[in-house]
């Protein structure tokens, strides 16, 4: 096993509010790592530090390091645009652009300098196939992305992220806005994707974490309480608070 992202002593603040407290974690390559915990525990804040989406919020600051590719991603040498190209993200609510399905998928590759139509076509096909959406939309690539169902939109957003050929895929509660059928499709998809990508997923559902993840991290009030193999966390948690949470005593 090798470590893809190594987080050391990370503190994170919104203004004066400390949202993350001394986080240390190693994310393993080509595994699915799930972040669980009650709402407001910092799991979403944490996943958003890993591609520096929190930069977009005024008045945030951090201390500590997030080492990726041998470098702290917050170091001045790292260009955030380049970082986000390699660390893709799928959001809570499907958020396709108000453009065609095709234009949604090629948005990233076009920005990063791919111009040739044949190349773009190929990217669209493979990305949509990887996101298990190709069969449903191949005949209407030019129709608006907003004409798709919620589950299809979310898979389009996954395809859009995959089109960048990312190294890591961050997923912030990707199924929380979807119905059970669409959710199970996305879960199957994650299962297939982990052969190629390192996946970090924030989920509000412990069952989901249990079904799809290799490792699980439990967050509570900005602290990382416990981290380890999913089967172990769910069968014999070491921390009392983890046990309380997964047995449903609070949350």
């Amino acid at each position: 096993m090798s470590v893809k992202i190594n987080v050391k002593n990370l503190d994170f603040y919104y203004g004066d509010f400390k949202a993350l407290n001394d986080i240390n974690i190693e994310i393993e390559e080509k595994k699915v790592t799930a972040f669980i915990g009650p709402s407001g525990c910092g799991k979403s804040t944490f996943i958003r530090t890993m591609n520096r989406m929190n930069d977009l919020i005024d008045g945030t600051k951090h201390t500590g390091e997030i080492i990726y590719d041998g470098q702290d991603i917050y170091s001045p040498k790292v260009d955030v645009v380049e970082l986000r190209k390699k660390v893709g993200m799928v959001f809570q609510k499907p958020n396709p652009f108000p453009k065609s399905i095709y234009e949604n998928v090629v948005f990233g590759p076009k920005r990063h300098g791919i111009k040739k139509k044949s190349e773009l076509d190929k990217i669209v096909e493979t990305s949509l196939k990887d996101a298990a959406l190709w069969e449903e939309v191949k005949d209407r690539l030019d129709s608006s992305a907003w004409s798709l169902s919620g589950g299809q939109q979310q898979r389009l957003c996954i395809a859009r992220a995959l089109a960048m050929k990312p190294d890591v895929l961050l997923m912030d509660e990707p199924t929380s806005a979807l119905d059970p059928v669409a959710t199970s499709k996305i879960e199957e998809l994650i299962e297939e994707l982990k052969d190629k990508y390192t996946i970090v997923i924030v989920t509000h559902s412990m069952q989901q974490a249990g079904r799809i993840s290799d490792n699980t991290a439990f967050f509570l009030m900005g602290n990382l309480v416990e981290y380890g193999e999913t089967s172990r966390i769910f069968s014999s948690p070491e921390d009392k608070r983890t046990e309380d949470y997964i047995t449903g005593r609070f949350g």
Partner: protein, 308 residues
């Protein structure tokens, strides 16, 4: 004899009736007030139509709409409205050339680039620009813009279309900027975040995602601003001149439809005379042009509205 309860029922019924009457009359009064706006429109259309029809009893409508000479105040008057229309459109078009880049640029800056603190300083200042009456811009055109233009174009007329256009352009900047900024702000952050997460720069998020998403409202803000420029009166009356001319040269003196109306109204016109009626004929054309633009603006938004 009625029992106590019956009596109380009777007063209750009376009371109820009285209350219902009161409610009914209030809603009727309010309806009448709200309908006043309709009477305003009817008043505008009727007043303009009445005198316009009388005007076309004396001047052929074809000559009016196709004639290229406007000498309404001369001894042997010609009523070809095209020079006035051309003057109006020239001012509106050159004005938009000034206003659209600046208005859109500052909308993008305020919506996408500026920090909250900067925005809080700049927005009220732009609102001041929007609150300055057009007569003040007219003064500014005449006493500041024209002398500066004179440095660059020594042969320029004191009254010229360019000076008026620039001032009209400045006047409509805040309109474009605030309407376009509202449109861009209405684009949900989720969509912006999606683009950032794909490794887009701010420039790319602005021009490839936000502007296309808000495009219909942005374009309609342009149309509204142009309509405003067409109806603008005091700037062009003061700065652009009173020589109706079919020209595209902004260095020349021209006359707009609005400036002509003011010129006539200022003089001692006999009520009911032909000159008096020209005000209404030109006013009618102006009304129809701006109405048309406003309807277009609304249609653009309606047809291409984005449901976020």
């Amino acid at each position: 004899m009625a029992t106590y309860e019956e009596k109380s029922n009777m007063t209750d019924n009376k009371e109820k009736k009285r209350r219902r009457m009161k409610e009914k009359s209030i809603s009727t009064i309010l309806l009448v007030l709200a309908s006043l706006s309709i009477f305003t429109t009817i008043g505008i259309v009727a007043t303009l139509s009445k005198e316009t029809i009388a005007f076309f009893g004396e001047v052929s409508i074809i000559d009016f709409l196709t004639g290229t000479e406007w000498t309404a105040l001369f001894a042997n008057p010609k009523f070809g409205v095209l020079p006035l229309v051309a003057g109006t459109l020239m001012i509106a078009i050159y004005g938009s050339v000034v206003a659209i880049p600046i208005g859109l640029g500052s909308a993008i800056y305020l919506s996408e680039y500026a920090s909250d603190r900067t925005r809080k300083v700049i927005k009220p200042l732009l609102e001041i620009l929007a609150g300055i009456p057009s007569i003040v811009y007219g003064y500014f055109a005449l006493t500041f813009i024209t002398p500066i233009l004179k440095i660059f174009f020594p042969t320029i007329n004191i009254f010229n279309a360019l000076s008026g256009s620039i001032a009209v352009g400045i006047m409509i900047i805040p309109m474009i900027s605030s309407l376009s900024e509202d449109a861009m702000k209405a684009v949900p952050d989720e969509i912006r975040h999606a683009a950032y997460a794909l490794g887009s720069t701010k420039f790319e998020v602005s021009t490839k995602v936000v502007i296309p998403a808000a495009l219909s409202s942005i374009i309609s803000s342009f149309v509204l601003a142009i309509s405003r420029a067409i109806g603008e009166t005091m700037i062009v009356t003061l700065a652009a001149g009173s020589t109706p001319k079919l020209t595209l040269n902004p260095l020349e003196s021209v006359q707009t439809m609005t400036a002509f109306i003011v010129q006539v109204a200022k003089g001692d016109v006999t009520h009911g005379g032909l000159i008096y009626k020209t005000i209404f004929a030109v006013g009618m054309l102006l009304f129809l042009m701006t109405l048309f633009m406003n309807i277009i603006a609304r249609m653009i938004i309606k047809k291409y509205r984005e449901e976020y």
